[in-house]
């Protein structure tokens, strides 16, 4: 009985770990001076070229960019910083956040 419970717990934890790994990862990047579409689109374009990026949403008012990755993919801070720099900006902060469903139509960049 005890060993059966152990096996079930192991299977459950494996399922949970796999689900967590497969879940989409999202990141919030803070970048200054995003109001002009020439700048905002530039950030979207450069980040959109990073491998594994599935969706990008820019909040011009807050000066933030939320990057959602494809399932199983992660975003490296150095890669994000490089893309932001190539767009002509500096990355102020980088944090992992919970992935949310897409908001407004056209909010994706790829």
């Amino acid at each position: 009985m005890k060993s059966r419970l152990k096996a079930m717990a192991l299977i459950l934890s494996l399922i949970m770990t796999t689900a967590a790994l497969a879940a989409q990862q999202a990141y919030k990047l803070r970048v200054d001076g995003l109001a002009c579409p020439f700048c905002a689109y530039g950030i979207e374009k450069k980040l959109g070229a990073v491998k594994g990026v599935e969706r990008i949403e820019v909040d011009i008012g807050a000066g933030t960019v939320t990057v959602t990755m494809a399932e199983g993919a992660t975003l490296d801070e150095a890669a994000a910083g490089k893309a932001v720099k190539e767009a002509g900006f500096s990355l102020r902060s980088f944090e992992r956040v919970q992935a949310a469903p897409p908001s407004a139509p056209g909010g994706q960049a790829k």
Binding site: K45, P105, G106
Partner: protein
């Protein structure tokens, strides 16, 4: 005695300062030389349906029609001069006939030229929406683009392209063959013939090339042979931005009317400014807001044959129509 001398010296300094300030104000902040423009009407709101916009970024007028680059919706919408929807051109994507963040537009001899920021190309459509040809590809070599912002077409069909991230203006043949460029690829500068994220170009009736030198907050003009003519925008036009007449806070679009007068979208100042061909300030209109006659970032402007002005109001997702007071 010493106190008297100090007082006199101080007074003289104040007088000189006042003269300098008054002279500077007169020299650097010109008064309007034309009657003001009056707001006529507006249309549009945020959304994806016909007549709605998700980031209007470019505008052009041809005959009785207004073409609007509806950027995030990946399409060009066509309206009559009263704002009634007629048709749309393109869908989001990368293939022929598809659009990746269309920006400034130009109409030349019955064709619509679209600068595609995401697809690094210029796409040409018939005014009915028929895709005709594609010029350019991603890169920084001759004939390649890194986020083109705007295009103008010479009488012989050559293309002049504001190559935004390459900090240059390229002249290409109608087939895309490289002819020449202004600016050094990848180099930002604030002196004459240097650029800082150029956003758009326009051609005057005499062949003068005007460049919206976006983040240098100025306009640069080049003669038909390509030689630098002049620049304007703030004191000495060296990347000094501000809200005064003749100053800019990021120029995102240029249009030249039939008389050769230059209209500029002054993005962060939420207004349109109008200049004579030599850069003399003539008039300006618009203020920040979402009410009639206000802009939430004026991004592009076009002028109809009768002088009516249409402007894209980026943040309010609408088009505004203006006319000059008599």
């Amino acid at each position: 005695m010493r106190l008297q001398t100090a007082f006199k010296a101080g007074r003289n300094i104040l007088v000189v300062l006042a003269v300098v300030i008054a002279g500077g104000w007169h020299a650097f902040i010109p008064a309007a030389k034309e009657p003001p423009y009056e707001f006529v009407t507006t249309w549009g709101e945020k959304g994806g349906a016909p007549g709605q916009f998700n980031d209007p970024t470019g505008i052009a007028v041809a005959g009785e029609e207004v073409f609007v680059a509806d950027s995030r919706n990946g399409r060009i919408q066509v309206f009559d001069l009263e704002g009634r929807f007629r048709r749309q051109i393109g869908t989001p994507g990368r293939g022929p006939g598809e659009l990746g963040r269309p920006m400034n537009l130009t109409v030349h001899e019955g064709d619509l030229y679209v600068a595609e920021y995401f697809n690094d190309r210029i796409q040409v459509f018939g005014l009915d929406g028929t895709p005709k040809r594609i010029i350019g590809k991603p890169g920084s070599g001759p004939g390649e683009f890194n986020a083109p912002g705007g295009v103008a077409v010479t009488p012989n069909g050559d293309l002049l392209v504001a190559d935004f991230y390459n900090h240059r203006i390229q002249r290409l043949g109608a087939d895309g063959g490289f002819v020449r460029q202004w600016g050094t690829t990848g180099h930002i500068g604030m002196w004459a013939e240097e650029f800082n994220y150029p956003t758009d170009v326009a051609l005057g009736p005499d062949g003068t090339l005007y460049v919206a030198d976006g983040y240098n907050d100025r306009i640069q003009a080049f003669g038909p042979g390509g030689a630098f003519l002049r620049k304007w925008g703030g004191p000495f036009a060296i990347n000094i931005f501000g809200p005064f007449n003749g100053w800019f806070a990021t120029v995102t679009n240029l249009t030249v009317d039939r008389k050769g007068q230059v209209f500029a979208a002054d993005f962060y100042n939420h207004r349109i400014q109008k200049f004579a061909a030599d850069g003399t300030f003539l008039s300006g209109f618009g203020a920040r807001g979402s009410g009639p006659g206000q802009f939430n970032h004026a991004i592009a402007v076009a002028v109809a044959a009768d002088g009516t002005v249409f402007a894209a109001d980026f943040g309010n997702n609408r088009i505004e129509k203006w006319r000059q007071a008599k």
